[in-house]
Symmetry: C2
Subunit: 416 residues, 2 copies
């Protein structure tokens, strides 16, 4: 395994941004964990939501006095293809995983376990790739499996395979109640919602002139009503339905602009096919914008785009947690989202946006919000307050700390 070098982060930097109550409670909660050796293991140090969270979370644990580390598992392309297949089948996809692939998965985990000494108080293993490490260590500490997937409708065969490793863990953490599969794991699992980092470049405050100059670069008119949807190009995120919905609403809000924002991966042909499909559906409508990393859209640009949107839209058919909802809300932008995954936890219907059941149900709320600036401002404030309370990294950190304390006490290993 490879060690990931940590940035330096200080919890104090969050004072004035996050809730004081949470901030103080974290420091107190972490008291018994001073010097405890904590290791997070996942599959990549950058790219994707898990790496994004760990790159803030692990340094903050260090700042709290834990001896926290981060490592990534190493494997060949066959290994990562296998875990991608498991990932898809565990989320309900129809994928066949051969015995050879299963064997290779175990073998790569065995090799990665070779340099893993069992001198950790807490080991947090994220997702599938490193899940089988536990088979190969004479473990002393508490082992936690942190699942970021939706296991509510898994392929039973894949679940049984993964379940044999998960059974050995002391605890499993899921993102939402609804994602917990039946019949795997030894104990009642924990629920920890994900979070956004208000100090990341995607969420930091920006000067209005900087925002405007970024929008100008992409010929977006900042004076027109604008809906942004930050979502990968895949069928579950329904970009085609989003374009169709925009067209219906545009009949009543003729100036409307639609910004489709996404990060594209080199190695995801399906993503490219779906991107092409969406661009074709948009045709030559100059008020639809495709904003991807391929034309320079990174964290700062997403930040600017969300800030200058009249509202956010996430019309997913199925959703992991949909954290881009919280990103918009944090910028005081109300959100209209479907009643799937974590969206209804973030959007409180009628308070900071609207939760809808389908495209048809989205039309009236969109028109209403686009035409009513006062309502947008009120909902925007409510959205920011909701995220501050529930979906910032500090709340997330506190949940981890509390879980570590309780598991260490249960294990008889105790705390300092």
């Amino acid at each position: 395994m490879q060690s990931v070098e940590l940035e330096q982060k200080a919890l104090e930097d969050y004072r004035g941004i996050v809730s004081e109550e949470i901030l103080d409670s974290i420091v107190e909660a972490a008291e018994p964990l001073q010097g405890k050796r904590v290791l997070h293991i996942n599959s990549t140090s950058f790219g994707g939501g898990v790496a994004e969270i760990l790159s803030s979370m692990v340094p903050l644990m260090v700042d709290l006095g834990l001896d926290a580390h981060w490592r990534v598992i190493e494997g060949d392309p066959a290994f990562f293809n296998t875990t991608k297949s498991f990932h898809n089948s565990l989320q309900g996809g129809d994928v066949n995983i051969s015995d050879e692939m299963r064997g290779h998965y175990k073998e790569v985990n065995r090799k990665n376990a070779e340099d893993l000494k069992d001198d950790w108080d807490v080991v947090v293993v994220h997702d599938l790739q490193p899940a089988a490490l536990i088979e190969h260590v004479k473990r002393e500490g508490v082992w936690i499996w942190r699942c970021h997937l939706d296991l509510s409708t898994p392929n039973r065969d894949s679940l049984a395979f993964i379940g044999q490793f998960i059974a050995s863990y002391d605890s499993a953490i899921y993102t939402m109640e609804g994602y917990i599969p039946s019949g795997i794991g030894r104990r009642k699992p924990a629920i920890i919602h994900p979070s956004i980092d208000p100090l990341s470049s995607k969420n930091l405050p920006m000067e209005p002139t900087d925002v405007d100059s970024i929008l100008a670069r992409y010929d977006i008119d900042p004076s027109k009503p604008t809906v942004s949807s930050v979502a990968r190009f895949d069928p579950w995120k329904d970009p085609i339905g989003t374009i169709d919905l925009y067209r219906v609403v545009k009949r009543r809000v003729p100036d409307l602009q639609l910004l489709l924002v996404s990060s594209m991966a080199d190695d995801d042909p399906e993503g490219w096919e779906y991107y092409e499909k969406a661009v074709r559906r948009a045709g030559e409508d100059p008020d639809i914008f495709f904003l991807t990393n391929m034309i320079g859209v990174g964290n700062r640009e997403v930040n600017a785009i969300q800030r200058r949107s009249s509202l956010g839209l996430l019309k997913s058919i199925r959703e992991g947690f949909g954290l881009t909802v919280s990103e918009s809300l944090w910028k005081r932008v109300p959100v209209i989202g479907s009643r799937v995954g974590g969206i209804p936890l973030q959007v409180m219907d009628g308070e900071n946006g609207f939760v809808v059941d389908d495209s048809q149900g989205a039309v009236e709320p969109m028109v209403r919000l686009l035409k009513d600036e006062v309502l947008r401002e009120r909902m925007g404030e409510a959205g920011k307050a909701h995220v501050r309370k529930n979906f910032l990294i500090t709340r997330h950190l506190r949940d981890y700390i509390n879980l570590f304390v309780s598991l260490l006490e249960d294990s008889g290993r105790g705390t300092t």
Copy 2:
């Protein structure tokens, strides 16, 4: 500089494919060059036409008995941005290159020259990136600048800057007569046309069942009349005009399919913007196909696509050499191309395709060829013969060998 590891290639493998006369004449011409130390220097070992040619050319020189090597210059992103700006401005673009950028360009060349001993008989420097190396070596051998660019309408200021280095070379090679700038270089330049490698995976014979299975992967109907255009998405290649032309022709050939084939680069936002523009123009027409590396289109796929096309189309407004024309012709597929760059050298009007002045002029020839299978077959044979004689790597190799011999004799350094 970095040495590039060479594949093994044997000239004998080309027997039966290329013209016997050229094959024998190469071996004879290379006699006096046995053991001569030859170094090619360019900027990258893969990606782009120059690297593609060198990866066949240098191993074949080794096979001929030369002590041939290949190195690539190393630089930071600022260096490659600068040379890209020079590239654009030398091809007529309006780009400003600061004194700082010029200084950095020279400095990177100076550093790269540090490990370049002057024990070479012949050094071939390709394009702009390594052009200033010559300033920093006490040279003994013959130095050749191999220009793959079109310098017919250069920015004079950039040309003067580059010209100061080119003046020191013993010879310059251009791709076409029309690309030679006035007023730089010491001697009458040489002309060497580029070439394709019939043994590369892009051009090798393929089983019809393999061709069909590749087309099926992209839902292309092999039974319908099909026009393919292999060209980057940029304004000079005119993909928008190509789509518009297809629409005019489709009125008379209703089944027509258009295949737009291109390789996309991560670091080319303009390419992405133009790709998006073309996809938007295509809209939801299911008979237009976008076939890029992002969805798995590599050399073998391009090979299959060209083989199954009724005709090739290259509607460039401006063109380097347009070698994709020869790629199609080599597969017995006639080509319709504009009267720019190297296209009229490859397409012999009325013999192996048609040379046209604009989109309007392309309509009748396209309809005629699409409707006349006998004509297509006759032109296809003529195209293959024309490429065999003029645009295969063996002819290209012979031109180099002949130039080396004559320059070494002129230099008084002699040949063995």
